[in-house]
Symmetry: C2
Subunit: 421 residues, 2 copies
């Protein structure tokens, strides 16, 4: 299909999504779960079709000379197709959040007041490369009772359309409206501009991707955005740290995976413990192939550490590079995190009760940790079952966003003829 | 003070608010409560000064020929000053929401994951006429650990400055930074434009006022907005309604106060019960001086009811006027509410369990009620202690917004050296 009038096309998509959202909001739990199970089965059955569609995208990407990292994210393997299906089954197994009533208490007037969890309505997801997001986002939005409009990267359009067909099969089979999940069929960038400004048809936008994409969307959106910005995560090794735990955590937070937003990018070490721990840490990092960039105090202890520039402290490397700073005290560690951090995830390693308690309260980040690795900042590890992203916003949802972040709560009031005096 | 460079002035206000927010976020509960108590005492002690400042505003308003309703909202009485002080003491008596940790559970990896309630940061409040909002907003923001920037209506500038002096006295006395609550000292409208776009210094905007003000701010803001739009509230009298309850609720929802957003503006009546209830209801409304506008079916039952136009169904009268429609069934009532309602507050009167259960789930509004008056939709009646407004948004906060709506939650993770596998 050739789509020429983008504005008209997107208005139609929006109208259909709004209409579908009303039906999905009151859909029974069993119907939603049946749709998810059928989607999973369709994805498994159509594995070869999905892989062929992905091959088409990959060929296109290579012809256009896209960078290796992007091609890596774009690549769908047979195992990747299986885990997409598995992910949908996991979402089906989660408790239905919709309709849950909490805190229903009697008030002195005699009325009972509580809150009922309800869908947000229509959610627009804008993402790049990874085709598995199409299945994940469709599943999460559906289970949370929302209609979804999915705008994947143009480089993944064939795989996304093939996955969308499986999603539609699931919706149809469960008697739910097909337009509850719509994949934008045009790669024209103007479609994004429409999506993020259709206030009548879209309730929230979730952008997933690079800093550039997210900043552009935040600036231009007229619809609320659940942002996932970059992660400049810190581990602070306090002078009262247990050395063994500090070594384990500092290695894991950096080396377990380099390209994720919850990877440590800056290590802060109290001056009283630095000489004892930094030489051994340096060896561990060098064995892992990590480049170290430090402040003068760090370089005075280990001469092979390169010099860090001011820019290093605010950089999300997403690579085997780590900046290291020796701090004079706890206060200086807090100041550094407040100044250079991105409010994503920060951890302290300490056995000191009072420092731990202060760190927990005073560090302003979506996840604050004591004696564990920043790599745990993840929806699955937190028990949310799945996540649509990690919010660095404070409004609405903060940290890993699962089903609950895709819902709202309305007040419910039960009476027996009470009137207000 | 003459403020000429608005942009510069607002940047300074923003910087000071951001700096203060860091200190207020970690302020002790006792200090916040002491500040609130001292503010209350200062307001009572300076009652004559506040009333004199208000008299100055009122004189100005009359000279400018402002409308009676606005002058009414602007007027501060001795009793009004006392209740401002009382409101601050009530906020002091509420539990401190900040730092509360909930749902701290062990995960299979051995880490414990929970959520800690934290302040939003800097809150900008934009409001009209009523000077008491200055004290209420300052108190709520402070207790929730936020810094506040208050922009009241130019017509109330003298009273607002006088109240601000009492607020500053309270902050000073408790050793908290004065700039934790700043009242904008210029009446230049450009200050609002700056306030709603200072993304670095303001975390959320709460506009309070007419539909025009709120729409303009929503459209121009670059900072998240907690909106309070208009209330086109419905009461639906089902065919299984208890007549006595229906009469009490329908009277109270309309007549207890006319100018509030939770007042019923449209009454829907099932056709099977209309002939039995409408004549008596009409008498009640006429005794209260309420003008009735109905659809043809309503007018066929009571001839003195005026004809309603299409426009009536979507109008928030804020006046002794009520539109009445007779519906064929439950479905038509739901459709009417979905089409014309403003998602504020809607109530059903019924003894039918299944209809009640469906109404609660399917009506999309910030408050949904069974067998009680829409007039209960209020922070104090819901047990929130106080409210900064009633949100008709779905994102972040919905319905009456109290202390909790002015906070966020961060994840806290406690470990004992766990690393991610």
């Amino acid at each position: 299909m050739e789509i020429t009038d983008i504005k008209n096309y997107m208005q139609l998509v929006g109208q259909q999504a709004r209409a579908a959202s009303r039906l999905i909001a009151k859909a029974e739990t069993a119907a939603k779960n049946q749709a998810l199970a059928t989607m999973a089965a369709a994805i498994k059955r159509n594995k070869q079709i999905l892989l062929a569609a992905n091959a088409q995208d990959l060929e296109h990407a290579r012809t256009k000379g896209l960078e290796a990292a992007l091609i890596d994210r774009l690549t769908l393997t047979a195992k990747g197709v299986d885990s997409m299906a598995e992910g949908l089954l996991q979402i089906a197994a989660l408790a239905d959040p919709i309709g849950e009533i909490s805190g229903l208490n009697y008030r002195p007037s005699g009325i009972q007041v509580g809150k009922m969890r309800v869908p947000l309505g229509v959610i627009g997801i804008i993402y790049e490369a990874r085709p598995n997001v199409t299945a994940d986002a469709a599943g999460l939005c559906l289970k949370a009772g929302n209609a979804a409009i999915l705008r994947g990267g143009s480089e993944a359009i064939h795989a996304n359309k093939a996955i969308a067909a499986c999603v539609k099969e699931g919706l149809n089979h469960a008697g739910l409206p097909e337009s509850a999940v719509q994949v934008i069929e045009t790669t024209d960038r103007a479609a994004v501009g429409e999506l993020i400004t259709m206030q009548d048809f879209v309730d929230v936008i979730v952008p997933r991707g690079g800093k550039g994409l997210i900043e552009r969307i935040s600036n231009e959106a007229r619809v609320p955005v659940i942002k996932h910005l970059h992660g400049v995560c810190h581990v602070y090794i306090d002078k009262q740290a247990n050395i063994d735990k500090a070594l384990r955590i500092a290695e894991n937070a950096k080396c377990q995976r380099y390209g994720t937003c919850n990877t440590m990018e800056t290590l802060l070490i109290h001056k009283d413990i630095a000489a004892k721990i930094l030489p051994e840490l340096t060896e561990i990092y060098y064995l892992n192939g990590v480049e170290l960039r430090g402040d003068p105090a760090a370089r005075a202890i280990v001469a092979t550490i390169k010099a860090a520039s001011e820019e290093d402290w605010e950089t999300e490397y997403l690579a085997p590079i780590l900046s290291i700073r020796i701090v004079n005290d706890f206060e200086q560690a807090l100041e550094h995190i407040a100044r250079y951090g991105s409010q994503h995830t920060d951890a302290i390693v300490t056995e000191d009760y009072t420092q731990a308690r202060r760190f927990l309260r005073e560090v302003d980040a979506s996840s604050v940790m004591i004696n564990t690795s920043t790599r745990f900042a993840d929806g699955f590890e937190y028990g949310l079952g799945a996540e649509i992203g990690i919010s660095t916003d404070k409004i609405h949802a903060r940290g890993p966003v699962g089903l609950e972040g895709l819902t709202s709560q309305k007040y419910v009031v039960l009476g027996d003829g009470q009137i207000r005096q």
